[in-house]
């Protein structure tokens, strides 16, 4: 926005006008910055300070330097395991939700499909379901003794003994991946749906004239034009992936317990413990170690930063190659 020029040789009133015109924009953005500093910057700095201390939240913090970082990276096996679990979930979730969302959006935009709006709504519904309900639903579906899936498999004669889906580390991980995909595919579909709606029909008509097949149109028109959305979703999925917490937590919680049975922290043998769950459990669970939890938060932050940057750089390089190839 152009700033109106004021004569330099103006009167005192003119200088005051300059000052007031320069000050007011700052005054109006001040509330945002005050809130940002108070609720973003200050906690960030304070968290770093806490990470250098041994503190249970009740007694005075004791400065211990980098010992919390040393502990999580070299002594406590569960921090790196939680990062590993998170990466594993992301490695499966991200391609499935992006590809699944893209395919669903393409299918629902097919003019031959009737009731597309209904299908879109149905696909989006899991996203607006509360995590607790999803956790209870999946724990009922995959229960070892009375789960619907086990019953169905047994009745179909596919298994002779019920499968302990939620008690076997590898299967429990699979259920968490399934939960996430089921919940987020519809959400990704909405993004792609908006993108596809913006693609000119003329491009498809021209391709039809050239005799392009449906697959060719999808790979040569739809995907390239949705690239900015794909890039955005990949970056965001990496960030969201590292923040994964609710879904595995509720799956192994004791919501359905009538006897006050305790939750299974991290799932069977901590196979579903994610980075955020680790931070939560370390800080607010049985351990009450704010310092170690803060160090784990910074450790996780470093992983998020590295992976987001790596994804960003890879996409830039691929984009450049595409342009050069063209």
């Amino acid at each position: 926005m152009a700033v109106p020029k004021v004569k330099a040789s103006g009167s005192t009133g003119g200088r005051r006008k300059i000052r007031s015109r320069q000050v007011w924009p700052y005054m109006f953005i001040l509330p945002f910055f005050v809130i940002y500093i108070a609720f973003n910057c200050y906690p960030l700095i304070y968290t770093f300070f806490i990470s250098l201390n041994e503190w249970d939240g009740f007694t005075e913090p004791v400065m211990t330097g980098l010992s919390n970082y040393k502990n999580i990276f070299t002594e406590d096996p569960y921090f790196l395991k939680s990062i590993g679990n998170t990466l594993l979930f992301m490695a499966f979730d991200i391609p499935i939700v992006i590809l699944g969302g893209l395919l669903l959006a393409s299918a629902f935009n097919n003019r031959k499909l009737k009731g597309a709006n209904f299908f879109r709504t149905a696909a989006f519904l899991p996203y607006i379901t509360i995590p607790v309900a999803i956790g209870v639903l999946f724990s009922l579906l995959f229960d070892w003794n009375s789960g619907t899936i086990n019953e169905l498999l047994a009745r179909a004669g596919l298994i002779s003994k019920h499968i302990n889906f939620l008690g076997t580390p590898s299967l429990a991980r699979m259920i968490v991946i399934l939960m996430i995909c089921w919940k987020y595919i519809g959400y990704h579909m909405i993004f792609f749906n908006a993108g596809i709606s913006g693609i000119s029909m003329e491009l498809y008509e021209a391709a039809d004239v050239d005799g392009a097949s449906g697959f060719t149109k999808f790979t040569r028109i739809t995907i390239p034009l949705l690239k900015p959305i794909i890039e955005y979703l990949v970056i965001m999925n990496i960030i969201w992936g590292f923040q994964l917490f609710d879904e595995p937590k509720v799956l192994f919680s004791s919501w359905t317990s009538s006897t006050g049975a305790s939750s299974l922290v991290g799932g069977p043998l901590k196979s579903c413990m994610t980075a955020i769950w680790y931070i939560y459990d370390t800080s607010f669970g049985s351990q009450m170690r704010y310092g170690k939890g803060a160090a784990a938060a910074y450790g996780t932050f470093m992983f998020i930063l590295v992976f987001s940057l790596a994804a960003f750089i890879v996409m830039k390089i691929l984009g450049r190659k595409d342009r050069d190839g063209r």
Binding site: I35, F58, G167, S257, S258, T259, L264, M288
Partner: protein, 456 residues
């Protein structure tokens, strides 16, 4: 000109208002505050605790002093508090803040670290109590000015309500003694009797219990189990063992090994089903005809058996488990040293443990609280429950159990121990290749990982 000045004034006012309203939530409460201020303070507390649900705040009565209390059973406390006021004429009101049982410790932690006001009464469930009591923030209720008379309550409750210095910092609420509940129809069919004394005589040791379990397993074609969940076995056997698991920051595996040994024997012999205690399948098992025994404390008939076995009235019995009764669950109340209405809070929670309070609570909410004198009256100590037919379950819970019950004192590491138990029990339950040695090693390693301060 005047118009421009007005504009400036309005703009300045807007900016100041926005900044003030944004920062309004940053302040901590202090001094005398209005009701509205208290409301916002509540909101801050709840948010700090990570509780996503709206706080349910209820103020009862119009007394001159308001006791603030956290808890997870507003309805019952409301009735008890009204009865308390009626009987004692206390000029107090209650500000009750609903806190989820599982989150009460986190709420305490975040409230303290955020520098917010603590309530006058903090509840604790036994699994978290040791960790909570290890904090040097509680009033010693057996010392002046309170001088609570310990002989008022059952003796076994004292180690469950004292910190490691031996100070009584909590007052118990309910009697937590527990026995072994069983389904009468299954007992008749497989044990040949449903008489609690005969069943108790039949199982003097866990070895006898195991042998019978193997017979029943064979007789029923592998369909009927002694217990539904391995957690039940852990609950009872660990509850019977008073040996501390951590003492002077040193891990003592003696009691853990004893419990694990039985758990693995029971699992390997197939006398325990593999249902997880936190699952719906476990709740449903109360109504089936496949599982005979369940641990049962004073609160279990009301809160667990009746809702899960609605058709089971009269089909339940209660007996003494092999090697005696044990303690399971139970709530207690603590008063923070910095609470604002300590005496009023103490008056209320100590009244709950008087003979009068105990009788009243039985009458208004069907709770069995801990005053010893009340249970000396055979009529009061008799407890009949529709689900247990004509059996006097009070005779077992309030008399027999008290004869030889032994409890492990609560300790700082209780929350960690519980987390490790959950993990190991689940692993042993799911994976039959985990033997006794492997289970013990897993328990030890987990303890050292989660509590690195333990000496090796």
């Amino acid at each position: 000109m005047r118009y421009k000045n007005l504009k400036k004034l309005a703009a300045t006012g807007t900016v100041i208002t926005v900044i003030c309203s944004a920062l309004a939530g940053c302040g901590t409460s202090g001094g005398v505050s209005s009701e509205a201020d208290k409301g916002s303070s509540e909101a801050v507390k709840t948010e700090a605790a990570g509780d996503l649900s709206e706080p349910k705040k209820e103020t009862k009565g119009e007394g001159t002093e308001t006791i603030t209390m956290w808890g997870w059973n507003a309805g019952d406390i409301e009735k008890i508090f009204n009865a308390y006021k009626e009987e004692t004429g206390a000029d107090v009101s209650l500000d009750y803040v609903t806190v989820q049982q599982e989150e009460s410790f986190q709420k305490l932690q975040t409230t303290i670290s955020a520098g917010l006001d603590l309530p006058d009464i903090v509840p604790s469930e036994v699994n978290q109590r040791g960790t909570m009591l290890s904090l040097d923030i509680w009033e010693d209720l057996s010392a002046a000015p309170y001088n609570f008379d310990k002989s008022q309550i059952f003796e076994y409750e004292i180690p469950l309500c004292s910190n490691e210095k031996g100070e009584l910092c909590a007052l118990p609420w309910d009697v937590s003694t527990a026995g072994l509940a069983y389904k009468r129809d299954l007992a008749k069919e497989y044990l040949g009797t449903d008489d609690p004394d005969e069943i108790s005589a039949m199982f003097q040791t866990w070895d006898e219990f195991l042998e019978k379990g193997k017979e029943i397993r064979e007789e029923s074609g592998g369909k009927v189990y002694m217990f539904a969940s391995l957690t039940n076995v852990k609950q009872i056997m660990d509850g019977q063992n008073p040996q501390p698991i951590v003492q002077n920051d040193t891990l003592d595996m003696t009691s853990v090994k004893e419990t694990l040994n039985w758990m693995i024997k029971f699992r390997d012999e197939g006398i325990v089903d593999n249902i997880l205690e936190s699952s719906t399948a476990y709740s449903a098992s109360y109504a089936d005809d496949l599982h005979i025994f369940y641990p049962c404390a004073g609160w279990t008939p009301n809160y667990v058996i009746q809702p899960n076995d609605p058709e089971g009235a009269g089909n339940w019995g209660l007996t003494v488990p092999p090697q005696g009764c044990f303690s399971w669950g139970g709530s207690a109340f603590m008063i923070p040293r910095d609470a604002k209405h300590k005496q009023a809070a103490y008056d209320f929670i100590s009244w709950m443990n008087t003979e009068e309070g105990t009788r009243t609570q039985r009458e208004v909410v069907n709770y069995n609280t801990s005053n010893v004198e009340a249970y000396k009256d055979p009529e009061f100590a008799a407890l009949y429950d529709e689900w247990f037919g004509g059996q006097n379950i009070g005779e077992l819970l309030f008399n027999k159990a008290m004869e030889n019950i032994q409890v492990r004192p609560v300790s700082t590491h209780d929350a960690t121990i519980m987390e490790v138990w959950s993990m190991v029990t689940e692993a042993v339950n799911s994976d039959s290749s985990i033997d006794f040695e492997a289970a013990c090693t897993m328990f030890e390693n987990e303890m050292y990982t989660l509590a690195p301060e333990l000496k090796k």
